[in-house]
Amino acid sequence: MVVTRMGDGSFITMSKDEVRRDIEEGMADAVKRGKIDPLGVDEIDHLVDICCRPQKFVSVEKGNELILSYDSGALKITRLGIPIGMPQIMQLYERAFAADSLELAYVHYSFKPIKSIVPEEQYAVAETSLVTTAPLLYGAMPNLPLYTKPDGPCDNAAELLPAGKIEEARRAQEEAVDYAVKDMVFVSSGVYEAGADGIDFDTTGAAGDAEFYATLLATEKLRAKYPDMAIEIGMAGEFVLGFHGQLEYDGVRLAGLYPHKQVKLAEKAGASVFGAVVNTNSSRTFPWNLGRAVTFCKACAEAATIPVHANVGMGVGAVPLVMTPPIDCVSRASTAMAEVGKLDGL
């Protein structure tokens, strides 16, 4: 029997045939929803092998390594309650954690609150850039809901929609887009001018199509302003929610897009790296989630012309939806994304 886990992290045992069946069913779900190609027989066999190895930890074969980037990497140390400054956290990532790239971040990980402390963040970026060697990004979330009342100036679409005020909800989201784009461009410009290699728009689209739209517009403006800036667009979920429903970018309706189509718009806007997300279903098994996530991400990597870094963390990329992701699942998902998903990074 194979010891594996559910998507909520709990241990289960399965036969090898059951593992294969769940991988195939997860893959079939991705194929149906995304209208994408299934994995080949050899690729399914490889996933079965990765899931069924008895070791607690698995890894790629030598030569199949990829690049690691980090969403709010710096805050992982802050959340542990270890009171050290950002430049020192970045040095730890570089010299102790073997990070391929670095991401500096502020604890209020959204552009709107960061706007008012850009000078302090510029200090942290400038200091860090003097003492680190690896590429340095600054990360934050577009977080469109922060622009709604009572925290912001715009009416709240989440209150307008249940009241049947569809047009008012759309106008409110469009107004929030304008504010968000200005903040994203302002903060990103500030940290770039201070010496960062670029920006990471993390959890893009968490508030739906309007937030994805805002991020694409901000990317477009930054690319025009700074041709050499590194811009990573990492998504919040596998599917762009149609909270507005009518927004288009480059003639493509944003609502309902899956990763292999999201990446084409990120490329068009000028992104350097795209972060594909596939959500973990906590009620299904790890093999089911792995088959599904790898199928989506492989299709995205095949469609892309820019590097694709899949999000493989708490509750995404087949990793169980828990605060302390088990390394048996993390290492298997990591290996599968590199060797079957053929991704450029995670």
């Binding site: 790629v60 073997a98 003097l130 060697t133 290699d197 800036m229 820019i306 995670l346």
Partner: protein, 107 residues
């Protein structure tokens, strides 16, 4: 979790050549294999060597582009090594450009 990924599939950062390959992805939008081949060519090593800690430690020492032991000895570190990396990889690194502007140096 970052450590689990590093052990399972990461290139190894400045322990090896992960930071250099990452730079080519972020700066030039190179896909993984293209970025590995570009960096290997510039370092005059094989693609397989890029993830070998022993070989890459020696290469990084020879090129003076920083290793994990950045706090020790006379090796370049931080911005110093990025000046060398920019030249080695034929790149403009933003923090290097800023350093040049702020010090009014020509390079």
């Amino acid at each position: 979790m970052a450590l689990a990924h590093m052990h399972a599939s990461g290139m190894g950062g400045i322990r090896t050549a992960g930071d250099l390959v990452a730079r080519m992805q972020l700066s030039k939008k190179m896909r993984l294999n293209e970025a590995k081949e570009y960096v290997a060519g510039k370092l005059k090593v094989s693609v397989e060597d890029l993830v070998d800690e022993v070989i890459m430690n020696e290469v990084r020492q020879d090129l003076d582009i920083s290793t994990v032991y950045a706090g020790m000895g006379e090796m370049s570190r931080g911005i110093e090594s990025k000046f060398r990396i920019a030249k080695l990889l034929d790149l403009e690194i933003n923090s290097v450009q800023r350093f040049l502007r702020k010090t009014n140096w020509q390079y």
